[in-house]
């Protein structure tokens, strides 16, 4: 007999895990949370208030170590935080870049903070255009959860009455900068919406957290907690209840089952001692993030579940979606040449957005189905990356760099892929990670629909730049590599039919009633919106469903 049986074991402490832990502990459940890496200490690990010259390599990083870094966020500011030891593999032909944060709080420590609600245009998209399936929820059902989440975390924006974007409960918006005013004027001419983004960044003190001080380095972590992350917003409150046992460096190997195939606990590797530990609970919440959760399910093989726990549908790992990211246009504003510097970038660029404007009235108006959103960026940044566009050297060169400083502008597209049989996660039959756990293997390529959005976005953004009086300098030759967005969805999709979906409308496994999933793996597809706010809203609903079930025994 195990010495202790928790009410719930939660795997992961990011947006989904953190919210589940918070809700469950507040409700009185005894929770054991497993996190695959260490706790971060903001004063030591977050170097966001350092100037480049405060670091030996000026933020560019040690040349030898840099070779192993992944993507733009793995840098001298966040060194030692991103995961490199728990590897994944790629099928031949698949490109995938992935900077995963396994530290306590996961990616909420460094996320982009854009926080739009999903709406019926997303949930009922299949009914509108005939592709794939509707979500098993309606906006009317989800709206109260979105409101509660917005009140908890604080989201700054305005009521915009856009058909693609339900409005929520907002703190005062970020102010528009010079570049926003210029682009707003241009956008009006080409009928593209240009509006304040929905940003989980506090423009006023909120729920005991200080307002943003606009230092500009949010993506290096916030050391005062002025934007939502679970270590600042949820985990301290959960720990104060006395109901939380948070185990760090606890890497989940597989979910344990009883003789009936129900979840009875989790086997994990303690990454410090390298010993395997078992922990038992009445229910298990899987919140390790989309691909890692699929890996855990597929690695949880037993006599009862030869293809992975709760995978009688064979759909675990399937239906992987991602956001295509890429620079659709860049240029500069001649009207700002030589103007004094302005704090354009002090909220790390999440001031404005161009929410989906395609296929709104007629779902088949464009060559592609569904739609995409765009984020603008520009103004005075920390480093004059545009210098390569200026010829020469000497006084004129130095002066030209200074003149151009306030003027750069660029656009970044967020375009969803649609589900396809070609994009999925499985277990690599050969490769194991440093702890002997079989690695996840990714199979992925952009689909034609998404690439049509990319082409459409490039044209639209060029038009917008020209309408704004900017000099157009081109677009990226190709989109960023898949995986860049960190918005994977769909490996444990929710749906009503147990034969076709792993989880039901509450994120509860169809096959295993005491196994719940609280991350973006339950989303049937990835929409044009970011995932974090919806992970929080769906998790809050799932956690309350679980609490009811626990009460009923």
């Amino acid at each position: 007999m195990p010495d202790r049986i928790y009410d719930v074991i939660v795997i992961g402490t990011g947006a989904g895990g953190g919210m589940a832990i918070h809700a469950l502990c507040q409700a009185g459940a005894k929770v054991c949370a497993l996190n695959a890496s260490r706790r971060l200490k903001p004063s030591r690990d977050f170097r966001n208030h350092r100037q480049p010259f405060d670091m030996p390599f000026r933020g560019f990083g040690d040349p030898v170590k840099r070779k192993n870094w992944i993507g733009y966020m793995d840098n001298e500011y966040t060194e030692g935080i991103w995961e490199h030891e728990i590897i994944f593999t790629k099928a031949p032909g698949t490109e995938w870049t992935w900077r995963r944060c396994f530290a306590v709080g996961g990616k909420t420590n460094f996320w982009g903070r854009s926080s739009a609600r999903f709406g019926d245009i997303d949930f009922r998209a299949a009914s509108r255009d005939g592709y794939d399936v509707d979500w098993p929820v309606t906006y009317a059902e989800m709206a109260p959860y979105y409101s509660r989440v917005e009140r908890m975390i604080g989201v700054a924006s305005t009521v915009q009455k856009r058909p693609s974007n339900p409005d929520g409960e907002y703190l005062p918006p970020m102010n528009f900068r010079c570049i926003d005013r210029i682009l707003e004027s241009g956008a009006r001419k080409v009928a593209i919406p240009y509006l304040p983004d929905r940003i989980a960044q506090l423009t006023v003190p909120h729920a005991g957290h200080p307002s943003c001080h606009y230092c500009a380095n949010c993506t290096e972590g916030c050391d005062v907690g002025a934007f939502f992350s679970t270590p600042w917003f949820f985990l301290p409150a959960a720990e104060r209840t006395g109901n939380l046992d948070l185990r760090t460096n606890a890497l989940c190997r597989h979910i344990l089952v009883d003789e009936n195939g129900r979840a009875k606990g989790v086997a994990y590797v303690d990454r410090v001692t390298r010993r395997e530990v078992e922990v038992y609970g009445r229910a298990v919440v899987l919140a390790a993030s989309c691909v890692e959760s699929a890996r855990i399910v597929l690695n949880s093989k037993s006599r009862q579940w030869p293809d992975g726990i709760a995978n009688s549908s064979g759909q675990a790992g399937r239906n992987l979606c991602d956001h295509l990211y890429g620079t659709t246009a860049r240029g500069y504003f001649p009207q700002l040449l030589g103007q004094p510097s302005f704090p354009d970038n002090v909220s790390a660029s999440t001031v404005a957005w161009m929410p989906r404007w395609q296929n709104l009235e007629n779902p088949r108006q464009e060559e592609f189905i569904r739609g995409y959103s765009v984020y603008p960026d520009g103004g005075c940044a920390e480093f004059p990356w545009y210098f390569e566009e200026i010829e020469g050297f000497g006084r004129e060169f130095k002066r030209a760099i200074k003149r151009r400083y306030p003027t750069p502008v660029s656009f970044y597209i967020q375009a969803p892929t649609q589900r396809s049989d070609a994009n999925f996660v499985d277990i690599d039959p050969q490769v194991k990670d440093a702890y002997g756990i079989p690695a996840a293997r990714l199979h992925f390529a952009w689909d034609r629909n998404t690439l049509l959005m990319w082409e459409h976005g490039k044209q639209a953004c060029e038009q917008l730049l020209r309408a704004s009086g900017a000099e157009y300098l081109g677009a990226a030759a190709e989109p960023d590599m898949p995986g860049t967005s960190l918005h994977e969805t769909g490996t444990l999709r929710m749906g009503n039919d147990p034969k076709r979906f792993v989880t039901n409308r509450f994120g509860q496994a169809h096959d295993v009633g005491n196994l719940y999933v609280c991350d973006a793996s339950v989303f049937p597809n990835c929409t044009d919106k970011t995932t974090t706010l919806s992970i929080l809203a769906f998790t809050l609903r799932t956690a309350e469903h679980l609490i009811e079930n626990l009460k009923q025994g």
């Binding site: 010259f53 405060d54 560019f60 970020m174 102010n175 004027s185 380095n217 103007q339 002090v346 050297f393």
Partner: protein
């Protein structure tokens, strides 16, 4: 709003701590470039990767690329120290390529003026560098000069605009404390067609 003041103090303390952490051994002007209140360290910087003559030429080049012209330039900001520091820590892009480029530079200087680059007058140095900088003037069969120019220019920019001097040159507005998100001050001119004349 009551706890705002305390939060700002916390932030200011952190900024001060970060500044105090910015001391690395060996540098002379680079450290001076960070902390204007301090005198430059006595003695000369001893390059860790490049030879003393290579290092001297790099230092001269950085000053030609970003000169002091009313505001301090790359030499004042210690950019050559940063380049040598990167090379010494394994920056393969600038180890041998930079060496070969310096050899090319001296060869062109000798051919044209009979002396290595560092011994030329500032006007002659400017002329030799211009050969590499402007594509039209560069000999067609010598792309090496252009590649070298782009390399030394890129690392000069990297070193200069990440120094305190360089960020002050741009008047970088980040890492300061703002009480509200900064708003466009040009009300009534959304397209920004009627701004005051440029300062630069």
């Amino acid at each position: 709003m009551a706890n705002q003041g305390a939060d700002r103090r916390t932030v200011l303390e952190m900024l001060a701590k970060a500044a105090a952490a910015s001391q690395f051994p060996g540098f002379r002007r680079w450290v001076f470039g960070q902390q204007p209140e301090r005198e430059p360290r006595k003695g000369t910087y001893r390059p860790a990767f490049f030879s003393p003559s290579e290092y001297h030429t790099i230092d001269v080049l950085t000053g030609l690329i970003i000169p002091a012209d009313g505001t301090p330039g790359a030499r004042e900001a210690g950019v050559s120290e940063f380049i040598d520091f990167l090379a010494a820590h394994g920056e393969t892009d600038i180890q041998e390529p930079m060496r070969r480029g310096l050899q090319w530079l001296d060869a062109v200087s000798r051919k044209r003026h009979g002396a290595p680059f560092a011994s030329l007058s500032p006007e002659q140095q400017d002329g030799v560098l211009r050969t590499a900088a402007h594509r039209g003037q560069a000999p067609r069969d010598d792309p090496q000069g252009q590649a070298f120019f782009r390399l030394i220019r890129r690392y000069t920019v990297m070193g200069y605009y990440t120094s305190r001097i360089g960020l002050e040159e741009l008047d970088y507005p980040g890492l300061r404390i703002y009480s509200a998100s900064p708003a466009c001050p040009h009300t009534g001119d959304p397209e920004h067609r009627h701004l005051p004349p440029p300062k630069v």
